[in-house]
């Protein structure tokens, strides 16, 4: 019988490296898709993804057991991406001040890792930017496939509330996808 997210979470919280590998394998695609929105080239994407996972590992004790692991990872990932973008902007402005640099991305290699297209990256970024409860409801219900009853139990609310949270969250993601030509919002 395959192991559920609950068992994996418990093993991972105890610092089990095998469980952490499984967490990375299970949720790595989402993280890479999100980071792709913020990285300019392949090297930057790899660095950013590694930084996200190291942050996730170090902060694992701040994870609340009842919440969605994916939702929590996305929160940390978004925060790491915003930090990286801020650092990159400071670095670029310093470099621009003292040297003539080629136009951004002129010689950049295309980022490696799964490329699901811009819409997936925008959707995952929009998911990461949702309110905590909307993100929790969507990850539990849509991505982890929990039943409405189980989701309601974990989130401590009624099934009808879950449905509203999921719908409103999906609407917000749709709105973001409709505006997908917008540049990445600054931190």
């Amino acid at each position: 019988m395959p192991e559920g997210p609950g068992e994996l979470r418990t093993r991972w919280l105890s610092g089990d490296a095998v469980a952490f590998r499984e967490v990375m394998e299970r949720h790595g695609g989402m993280v890479v898709t999100l980071a792709r929105r913020y990285a300019r080239d392949a090297d930057e994407l790899e660095d950013l993804v590694q930084e996200i996972w190291i942050r996730v590992y170090r902060k694992r004790h701040s994870f609340e057991d009842r919440g969605s692991l994916l939702s929590w990872i996305l929160t940390l990932a978004k925060s790491a991406c915003v930090d990286a973008k801020r650092r990159s902007r400071i670095y670029r402005s310093a470099v621009d001040r003292y040297a003539e640099v080629p136009p951004e991305g002129a010689d950049a290699e295309p980022p490696a890792g799964p490329d699901l297209g811009g819409r997936a990256a925008v959707a995952v970024e929009a998911l990461a930017r949702l309110s905590y409860r909307q993100r929790e409801a969507i990850t539990h219900r849509v991505l982890e496939g929990l039943s409405p009853e189980e989701t309601a139990k974990r989130m401590g609310c009624k099934k009808g509330t879950i449905r509203s949270l999921v719908r409103n969250g999906l609407m917000n993601i749709r709105k973001r996808m409709e505006d997908m030509d917008d540049p990445v919002p600054e931190a």
Binding site: M24, M30, Q50, A120, A121, V142, R163, L170, R174, M177
Partner: protein, 149 residues
Amino acid sequence: MTPCPKPDDLLAMLLAEGALSDEVRRHVEQCPRCTQEMASLREIVDVLGSAGGARMPAAWTEEVLARIDASGPWARTRRVLDLVRPTLPTFALATVSAFMLLLTPLRPSGLVSPDPLSLLIWAVACGLLAMAWDVARLRRRAKGSRTSP
């Protein structure tokens, strides 16, 4: 045609949540607005699902695990042990040889007293010296292999 169902009902239908009446199902199949709404919701769910099903390159996973391993609380201790472990035979050999030598008349009697504890301390000190020499030799060799093309 019956009036359009509530948006929550469309979502419930999309997520196969509970049983909806045949009347609602028929309406959604026939109503262009509801069909479009369903397609739009389905697209978002599918896009998120495709990102959730994607995999990170395996090499990146290994790199993350290696970096975590190298930065853990016992990482420094492990590095020291890894460095010292290959020199343990040198330590053992040097200690035993020094002890045997100190038992013979070759012992510098003015410096080392003949009691067993003193002999042992001197032997261990000789062993540690030999070990330090071996560690330095191994480090030089490792450095040489890193810099050579």
